[in-house]
């Protein structure tokens, strides 16, 4: 309320670039006509059960198409340009995946159909489970979790259930490095467990001394992203896992950075007990402007009984004349169900299946090798201009500092200025252990020309920071929209729009 006093008395109406779908509504317009009823009429239920009005917009088909087409043009996307958003793996999304995901046999099957009528779907899920097991070195995989964070929650529930099943009830602490994604501690918080933060050492590895001191018989396990959010492969990974296992804890792998490891190393081989995959990062499921993701979880043999239900398995082996019959099974000590039905089948499993099938073992290794090549190339090109606080051979991404001596230019300003040069900015202010972090993940699907153009823009911006800092402070200047008043959004909290005042709802 105190803020209200600060408000200027006279307010100018904001300029509307694109009206909302409600603003565009006009009483009586029709977008879609449904067929007339072909059955004898039944009276509607009593009036007191019915709703009086339905305040939805009214538009013609062309109005709707043009509205969303105009909105789409306000977006930057992978299809339109370079998107080096660290930890998000914004790789090219192959077009064929869009076609396979929409095959009618996939689109129009109901999740509760008898298994005999959906053998194609089940065979695909069975194969994808097996491929993910093979790629990451695990004994079993659930495809059910809807996103990475959902997969983490699944994994932590299994870790808890594992200890509980052994009567080991005093384990309440989860070890999480300071460089971790926010979802790691949040997943643990949902379980009422305690988070113990483990610092990183000067080479960006887990600090072994701190880890050793934290390892005791109250540890549930450790959640580790490897390569970590600095883009670095932990040089003592085997020792880290040895310490955690040594105190009876389990090792959780955050698979967000798996794009660096395909055909390079299998987390299961190194000793990870459980790991989630982000199919929407590593296996080219498009990010969709914020989802849907897909977050399968792989586990070592000793955790397989705890997987969520249901899993796909062969329920009848068949013989020379009959193919095997695929169906659903429930693991013996399952933690239960993570969501309704079987996971993100159409948008997730079909696209990833297509992608893995089109790469094979060599193609998958190429993905990681070139993702790492591109990141190191860019790091080499920027090293003289931007401080790289943990400077060694990186994996698929690296983190630079977005600040310069004697200048008040910040990572945010550099990011906004990159938009003027036609690029999407890197992730900023993450990981938290680097000042003014710029986290850059080029992915394998960018060519050298693009990387060079990006490096040159970054170098130019560093010069501008000295000569014309005001350009950076006011950036972006060439985009349709400028910097936002985020305080106003949070203070006024306008979260919905409605039909315009006086709109005729009677028609």
């Amino acid at each position: 309320m105190a803020d209200a006093v600060m408000e200027p008395k006279v307010r100018t109406e904001p300029k509307i670039v694109e009206p909302t779908i409600f603003d565009l509504s006009s009483p009586g317009r029709i977008g879609v006509t449904m067929p007339a009823s072909d059955v004898p009429e039944t009276a509607l239920p009593p009036e007191e059960l019915l709703r009086q009005d339905l305040p939805l917009p009214e538009l013609a088909e062309v109005d709707v198409v043009r509205h969303y087409m105009r909105l789409s043009k306000f977006n930057y996307s992978v299809d339109s340009g370079y998107y080096p958003l660290g930890s998000c793996t914004m790789k090219y999304n192959p077009k064929i995946n869009e076609d396979t995901a929409r095959l009618p046999g996939f689109l129009y099957t109901h999740p509760l159909q008898p298994i005999e009528t959906v053998q194609g779907n089940l065979a695909l899920m069975y194969q994808l489970q097996n491929w993910l097991k093979e790629i990451a070195g695990f004994a079993a995989v659930t495809l059910q979790p809807a996103a990475g964070a959902h997969g983490e929650f699944t994994g932590v529930l299994m870790m808890r259930a594992y200890h509980k099943s052994r009567g080991d009830t005093k384990r309440t602490k989860m070890l999480i490095p300071d460089a971790a994604h926010g979802t790691n501690p949040a997943s643990v918080g949902m379980m009422g467990m305690q988070v113990v933060t483990i610092p990183s050492d000067e080479r960006g590895n887990v600090d072994l001394k701190a880890l050793e001191a934290a390892c005791d018989d109250t540890v549930v396990g450790m959640m580790l992203t490897n390569p970590n959010t600095l883009g670095l492969f932990d040089e003592h990974i085997e020792r880290v896992i040895e310490l955690v296992h040594g105190c009876g804890g389990l090792m959780y792998g955050d698979g967000a950075n798996l794009n660096a490891l395909l055909g390079i190393v299998r987390p299961g081989d190194v000793g990870f007990d459980v790991m989630h995959f982000n199919l929407h990062k590593t296996f080219s499921v498009p990010h969709g402007g914020g989802g849907p993701g897909v977050g399968p979880v792989g586990v070592a043999a000793h955790l397989a009984d705890f997987l969520p239900e249901p899993l796909v398995d062969i329920v009848d082996n068949g013989d020379d004349d009959m193919p095997p019959l695929y169906g659903f099974v429930k693991p013996a000590k399952s933690i239960g169900r993570m969501k309704a039905f079987h996971g993100h089948f159409g948008g997730g499993f079909v696209r990833s299946y297509t992608y893995i099938a089109m790469h094979g073992p060599d193609g998958l290794k190429d993905i990681s090798q070139y993702a790492v090549l591109n990141a190191n190339y860019l790091q080499a090109r920027l090293r003289d201009t931007y401080k790289i606080p943990y400077d060694r051979i990186c994996m698929h991404e690296f983190v630079a500092e977005g600040r310069f001596k004697g200048s008040d230019v910040r990572a945010l300003d550099i990011s906004k200025r990159l938009m003027d040069y036609g690029f999407h900015p890197p992730t900023n202010y993450f990981p938290l252990i680097v000042h003014e972090a710029l986290m850059i993940e080029p992915t394998e699907t960018e060519n050298r020309d693009t990387l060079d153009a990006f490096a040159e823009a970054m170098i130019k911006i560093a010069k501008e920071a000295k000569t014309h800092p005001e350009i950076l402070k006011s950036a972006p200047n060439t985009t349709q929209f400028g910097r936002m008043d985020e305080v106003k959004a949070a203070r006024e909290l306008v979260l919905c729009c409605w039909l315009p005042e006086g709109y005729d709802l009677s028609q």
Binding site: P94, I335, R337, D485
Partner: protein
């Protein structure tokens, strides 16, 4: 090298810039004994071969558009999806963008989510909507998180109607592990005669949330106004799990006094896709917005005086609050939420009501015809929308096997979740079922009984 745009010559030049000799040299931090495993996977297919393989898998299914007449619902419904919806979803500008962290170049996604929030609030009769959850089940579980947080963990009982979708209840049980919650009412040994108002007896001063479904899992429509009043009198919040198509016809949970309205948005223009991805909608009252999980888009202006949109109240979320966040949700169902927004914009006020009325009319015609068959009748007398429970005179599995031989996907077998409901079949009818489909179902079901 399927999608890698780098030539061998360029690769070598880049390696030289880095100062290493080969690609393999980039991986020395990886333990040598585990480095470069041979992956036992089939060799790469070309696009043409992959399309063939995937087409083969898709064709191995029997789908409800060309192979089977479907009367199966139970949480996922076969509706008509206007062509425009997928044309918009196929815009690369929408589907290849990330979460809109940079609002200056993400206004398309941000305005679309803002409109989605507005459309869902209008449909449910609530004040605010978040940007989506994974599905109806997880949205319901997040309602438990909201209520738990609202009372700071001091009220630890959640009352769940046994007629909430069985899989939704299962997800709540999973989510509740480690929260020390007491779940009451969640009992498969249901007394079908009991009325929703009797749930009020389970609500007491330790209850943070009461959850009911609308229409309930058996298809019945109840006015929950009195039940909600009673629960409120005991200080509990009430969450209604709603079918969004039904809300075009029936009074809103908002008008009954619900505090949270959630559900699955799949009926609004999203293909069934063998169960997902769909979208969980989550709407609530303004006073609970700070406890609500998930992303939220708010209106603002940019520095040029233009109306614009940003992610707001982000301090609630995991990347800021870490272990103290209400939920760990990060990625949600952005593109699917966009699909429902396009569907609702296109159908609008008249079209959605028309779809709802078609469902209602056809389901009632089917119920009336089916209940005339000897040995078959409606199990309940309450009003229903597009789904109803049919009592048959033998196990549903047996009936469905016979229907399937005749190209009909029968209703859901309720005995799978409720042991006392043997011979209870849940039938769904939508605008996709013609009178002829229904007449065929009636004919074949009559044969079962005389066969």
């Amino acid at each position: 090298m399927t999608y890698i745009p780098t030539s061998p010559k360029e690769r070598d030049a880049m390696l030289e810039t880095i100062g290493v000799k080969s690609l393999d040299d980039l991986f020395e931090a990886v333990p040598a004994k585990h480095r470069f495993p041979e992956l036992n996977l089939p060799p790469a297919l070309t696009e043409m071969e992959a399309l063939n393989e995937l087409s083969g898998l898709a064709q191995a299914n029997e789908n409800v558009r060309s192979d089977l007449i479907s009367f199966l619902g139970a949480g996922m419904y076969n509706h008509y999806i206007p062509s425009v919806v997928d044309h918009i979803l196929r815009r690369g500008e929408f589907y290849t963008a990330y979460t809109p962290y940079q609002p200056e170049i993400s206004q398309g996604t941000l305005q679309a989510i803002f409109e989605y929030q507005s459309l869902m609030s209008a449909l449910t009769g609530m004040d605010v909507s978040n940007a989506s959850h994974y599905d109806g089940a997880t949205a319901t579980a997040e309602a438990v998180n909201l209520a738990y947080a609202q009372f700071r963990g001091k009220r630890r009982k959640v009352v769940i109607s046994p007629t909430v979708h069985p899989q939704y209840r299962a997800v709540i049980r999973t989510y509740a592990q480690g929260m020390e919650l007491e779940l009451a009412g969640d009992d498969p040994n249901i007394n079908v005669e009991s009325q929703p108002n009797e749930l009020a007896d389970l609500v007491d001063d330790t209850t943070c949330l009461l959850i009911v479904q609308y229409p309930d899992f058996f298809g019945r429509v109840y006015d929950y106004t009195k039940l909600i009043e009673t629960a409120h009198a005991k200080g509990a919040l009430v969450c209604v799990v709603a079918n969004p198509t039904a809300l075009a016809l029936f009074k809103t949970p908002g008008s009954m006094g619900a505090d949270i309205v959630v559900g699955d948005g799949q009926p609004l223009g999203i293909p069934m896709w063998y169960g997902g991805p769909s979208v969980g909608f989550f709407t609530t009252r303004k006073n609970y917005v700070h406890k609500m999980a998930g992303r939220l888009v708010g209106e603002t202006i940019d520095n040029r005086g233009q109306r614009a949109y940003v992610l707001t109240l982000t301090a609630r979320e995991q990347h800021i609050k870490r272990e103290r966040a209400t939920s760990n949700i990060c990625t949600n169902q952005g593109l699917i939420a966009l699909g429902t927004a396009v569907y609702l914009s296109l159908l609008g006020k008249k079209g959605l009501r028309q779809v709802a009325e078609l469902c209602y009319q056809k389901a009632h015609y089917a119920a009336q015809q089916l209940s005339q068959i000897d040995g078959i009748g409606l199990c309940f007398t309450e009003p229903f929308f597009h789904e109803f429970t049919l009592c048959v005179d033998r196990p549903v599995a047996e009936v469905n096997a016979y229907l399937l031989e005749h190209g009909i996907l029968g209703g859901y077998d309720l005995s799978q979740d409720y042991p006392s409901l043997q011979n209870h079949m849940l039938i769904a009818v939508t605008e996709m079922n013609s009178k002829q489909d229904i007449d065929v179902l009636v004919e074949v079901l009559s044969e079962v009984n005389h066969g």
